[in-house]
């Protein structure tokens, strides 16, 4: 809490005219009945997102806080509050330093984002784009002409936010109450103080924007579940890895071409509980986005493909997305209400037995209200992997979000 006290002290003494924002969401969702008496078929929740940002009169010192929260009336475990961002910073136009809770995103693709791994996510939020949890870090960005280099260091590991046992996203409905971080060989501990860091170099070449990155961190995307059938509970075990990668967005031939390539390296002495060492692997994603201006709106076509390269087939299969193809459409009506329709389908090209269909329609009502209606449908063989798409097979749902902006 000390960091919050410091931020509030600075915001009222150093900064002038802070800007406050408040967004409240009334969220309803209905799941397919999974014949499980423990899990809720209906969720009714209220969410609040509070934001404040301010800068000093000289424009150099800044502070920003965004706190996200949710309370579910039908699921006692579905209550959370966390900072998306809470930092103080200095920006002279060329040098930008921030201290506090931050999140990063330098991904180029929309659905498959192997480069986008720095922050833990709220895995109870939208399937198509899970919210990020801010992590305490110090970052420094140096803008050099038309390029920039950013470095960050984080001393603390924050685990992803998992759905509780009453949540239909929790398949099987077994609690994930703790976690372990693999440190060396078979040793694991719960110590949250784990130094992590990375650097990103951004530059442009003609009509292409390119980012090269290096991260040394605890990988929250790829974990191995340790299942204790006696209690029962699941303990995810996270592993440290180093990731190097390159992402790009290019305007070519009337479309935007997006690519991501990452290589993940694990320490040789890291072994899983099954005594297999984790082998290095690579992931590549390519995507194309094309806009079409129509008389009464704008139509966007999107396609992306992801492929994992690993000598270990079981490890390749453990990745949530591998050899998957996304086809998506977005129609912006370009009307007063900002109406927008989204449809996407992700299909596993290996055996064509896994599909994720997502549909949503959103529009404003006046300037301060927004409604979104959506559907998420998953078809998959149940593989009991606990980490793949198959865990969502019985978690098809429709949702209605009504947002009020203040």
């Amino acid at each position: 809490m000390k960091i919050f006290n410091l931020i509030f002290f600075l915001s009222f003494n150093l900064f002038s005219a802070p800007q406050f924002d408040l967004e409240s969401t009334f969220s309803q969702r209905a799941f397919q009945d999974d014949d499980n008496p423990i899990t809720n078929t209906f969720n009714s929740a209220i969410g609040m997102k509070f934001g404040v940002k301010a800068k000093s009169d000289e424009d150099n010192f800044r502070v920003k806080i965004i706190i996200d929260s949710l309370y579910d009336f039908s699921d006692k475990d579905r209550f959370y509050i966390y900072p998306e961002e809470a930092w103080v910073g200095y920006d002279d136009g060329s040098n930008i330093i921030k201290v506090g809770f931050q999140h990063f995103n330098w991904s180029s693709t929309e659905a498959f984002r192997p480069s986008d791994v720095v922050n833990s996510r709220n895995l109870d939020s939208q399937v198509k784009n899970a919210s990020k949890i801010g992590e305490p870090m110090i970052s420094y960005k140096r803008i050099l002409g038309e390029s920039s280099i950013t470095g960050f260091i984080s001393p603390y590991f924050i685990k992803p936010l998992y759905p509780g046992v009453e949540n239909s996203f929790a398949t099987p409905p077994i609690p994930i109450e703790s976690y372990l971080v693999n440190t060396e060989g078979l040793k694991t501990d719960k110590e949250p103080f784990n130094i992590q860091g990375g650097a990103i170099f951004n530059f442009s070449l003609s009509k292409s924007d390119i980012a090269i990155h290096y991260i040394n961190h605890i990988d929250r995307d790829a974990f191995i579940p340790l299942i204790n059938p006696l209690v029962p509970n699941i303990t995810p075990i996270f592993y440290r890895n180093q990731q190097v990668g390159i992402t790009s967005q290019s305007a070519v031939l009337g479309l935007i071409l997006k690519t991501e390539f990452v290589a993940r390296f694990f320490s040789e002495d890291v072994v899983t509980l099954s005594h297999n060492s984790i082998q290095d692997f690579q992931i590549a994603t390519i995507g194309i986005e094309r806009n079409f201006s129509l008389g009464k709106g704008e139509f966007t076509f999107l396609t992306e493909y992801i492929r994992t390269f690993s000598q270990n087939i079981s490890q390749q299969n453990a990745e949530v997305f591998d050899n998957d193809l996304l086809i998506g459409f977005r129609h912006s009506f370009n009307n007063i209400n900002g109406s927008e329709l989204n449809l996407s389908l992700i299909s596993d090209m290996k055996d064509l037995k896994q599909h994720i269909l997502n549909f949503s329609y959103a529009q404003r009502i006046k300037n301060n209200w927004k409604v979104e209606l959506g559907l998420n449908y998953v078809e998959s063989e149940v593989l009991d992997s606990y980490i793949g798409v198959d865990i969502l097979d019985s978690a098809d749902y429709v949702y209605l979000d009504i947002k009020r902006f203040f």
Binding site: I143, A251, S293, G297, N335, N367, K370
Partner: protein
Amino acid sequence: MKFLLLLLPILAFSNKGLEISKKIEKQNNGFIGEESTMTMLLINAQGDKITRKLVSKAIEMENEGDKSLITFKVPKDVAGTKMLTWSYKKNDDDQWLFLPSLKKVKRIHSNNKTSSFMGSEFSYEDLGSQELEKYTYKFISEDDSNWVIERKPINKSGYSKQVSTISKKYMNAIKVDYFNKRNELMKTAIFENFKEFPVNNKKIFRANKIHMKNLLTKKESILTWSNRKLGVKHKDNLFKKEGLNEDF
């Protein structure tokens, strides 16, 4: 020979249109940097009204098109979204969008310029940088106060032509008629509330109100400027993609 003689007045008028346009561009150059708050009133065919608010900043470039940064303020669900445009005299513009909820800088293709801007009757093309080299010009007529000039786009556009009435006093358009691809009069923009801005011993006029009427849909949009400043020396980094994801 007779054919060539008949063509001469047309060629002369073509050149006159270009010459006047060059003169107008020269008069409006030299603003260094500009910033303003823009309010857009959208009126549908039934008369319902809704307001949008934006903050606009622009910087003049010496040998290329201008750079501009638009930050959306209202409606609140898109507040904080920024659009950075680098315009070029001949090539397609570079455009990036910053999405604050994702903290993501996204390159977008400038082929969306015929689309409506925020659901208004203005298209991205209407509000973008009007580089001289992107059109051909034809002189139509003149009186004591105004010139009338027709211009046709060289590159992809939502219009077949635009006919501008240009004030000799303000050296700016006071009315533009936009013709669609079927050569029908589609929209009319009226430019009003001209204000004089002294910049480096030069007087530059800017319209502080544009009233755009769509004659086909009967919808209207009124764009007004407030707190407008010219001659502003912006930090150069403000118009760089690298600075776009900084939230202020």
